[in-house]
Amino acid sequence: MTRVNLLLLVAVLLSGIYLVRTAYDSRRLFSEIDRAQNEARRLDLDWQRLQAERHAQATNLRVEKVARERLKMRPITPAITQPTTDAQAASGGRT
């Protein structure tokens, strides 16, 4: 009888220790997930910000300015445009 009780005591102790360990692990993992999620959100916000910044760099005003000043381009008019029709596209298929 005593032996059985002892055995049960040891079992209880072991399961208790195991429980503590699991709870600790789960909390640790959870906080890691949480940290990762926060990081993901932060990166997402960064991405949005950078996207907006990229658009700000490519506004029509800037494109036109760069085209005119740095690349020395000039606006096209129908007078300097030669309209052509793609023979392949017009015949409606590949050759």
Binding site: R49, A79, I80, Q82
Partner: protein, 601 residues
Amino acid sequence: MSWFKSAKPGRVASGRGAYRGNIARSVRYASSPLLASKTPPWRSRLLVAAVGLGFCVLLGRALYIQVIGTDFFQKQGESRYAHSLELPASRGRIIDRSGQILASSVSVPSIWAIPKDVDAGPQERKQLAKLLEMKPQELELKLASSPKFVWLRRQVDPQVALQIKQLGLKGVFQEGEYKRKYPEGEASAHVVGFTSAEERGQEGIELAFQQQLQGRDGSRNVVKDRLGRVVEDIGERIPPVNGQDIDLSIDSKVQFFAYQRIREAVAINKAKAGSVVVIDARTGEILALANAPSFNPNDRRNLSGNQLRNRALTDTFEPGSTMKPLIAALALETGRVTPDTMINTAPRSLVIGNWSPSDEHVHAELSVAQVIQKSSNIGAAKMAMQMQPREMHDMFTQVGLGQRPQIHYPGVVTGRLRPYKSWRPIEQATMAFGYGLSASLLQLAHAYTVFARDGELIPISLVKQPDEAHGVRVFSPKTARAVRLMLQMAAGEGGTSPLAQTQGYSVGGKSGTAYKQEGKGYALHKYRSWFVGLAPIKDPRLVVAVMVDEPSDGKHFGGQVAAPVFSQVVQQSLRLLGVQPDLDVKPQIVAHQLNAAEGNL
């Protein structure tokens, strides 16, 4: 026990000789003379009662905590470890038809401090002040304003925030806040509008679509440990719902170009203001809606005053000569005239009471088409006088005059069109050339879609429409085509606005000029000039309306002031939309070829 054993025998022996030695071993305390003192029994009872009472108090307290006050204590306990975190939703973006961002929310750090915890030395403070772009005294003043919490600077540059973080100052913290960015700036400021610092829509699309853009914040309850790390979720987590993106019909390239041109025209003509509306005649989408002067929505300081008005939608004026094509169309539709019917337009050939309309240039006789081409008030009035007031009123209503435009936008005005029963004959005549009723520039552009769409009035929209629009028939296709030819004449040689011509595309349109109303009468030297037209004439793709308010540099006719803007906007927009030129253009492509002789040099 052993202590008693060793000590007691002696005492017992000396105390009572009558006890025998073997009895002395088992002590009888009761008979001990020391213990036999005459203590009153209530003392021990009192003690028992006191201890019992103590237990009762404890029990009562336990009962109070566990049963009666349990909610309060549970809550108090929870607040020590549980925290409610807000999950902020981001506001939706506003996007043009090709995916360009017109407005977007970005997260920017804000710097705050708990002044009583700040223990930085003078050198560090100086650095911090420099990074925050303020004087050291200013920083001190801010830190002195409250011991608990103070914003040092809101919405700083991410780079600066990083540098501040690297300083590693105690008591200085950062927090992400959302800020609205408008990459296109002033070009599309009126359409897009702007938000308050708390990201609530204040103007334009931002206000009109506040509900959809806003989104809903979520929340979660968590357990935090000693170090402030989240270790567990409690209860349900409410995820944040981000705001929807709004796809506008605006084409940012067309918009930018239109804005640039109208700004230029306002500057050249020393005008007060100007507006342009570009409508796609196939889908009814508004491709551009620009006003000058404009404002930069990224800078909060100038978000007030007159430049915020979206004049194309909120300002009404008497549409003047631009009404004549509508009158001609109605006359054609009802079979009263054909384009070649001759009308006597001699001065004072139409007299109502003792009033008669007059023309800028005197013509003895004009055909209906020429009445439009030369913009004859007398001719238009004569056509109108053949009609019933009711017919005219119905037609005006059908093309949207005096009706609120069906677009989702704040501040859209209705214009004014009085019920036909109260029209006097003079008014009926003046309405033929656009006096006595009022409309916004958008309404005018909308009305002209009937000509572009072979007689159909299509609904217009500021939001992207994927499908071809279907409208309500007002005129027959034959009438619409006939009027289009008249409009082409008006915009050509011998018309009122040849400056509307473009290279490669056939255009048609009608100019308008009017004295500005001031108080009850008309101001003498204040004009408003505008031009409404369409292109290309055969199969119109665009309806463009241009208005310039108070041009004061000599020129004031719509054909001189507004038509050139129309021409440039149409030319660029059609090219951007990839419409093939329908007119022959004298090519200016010069092939440079070195001949052999020169080549050798």
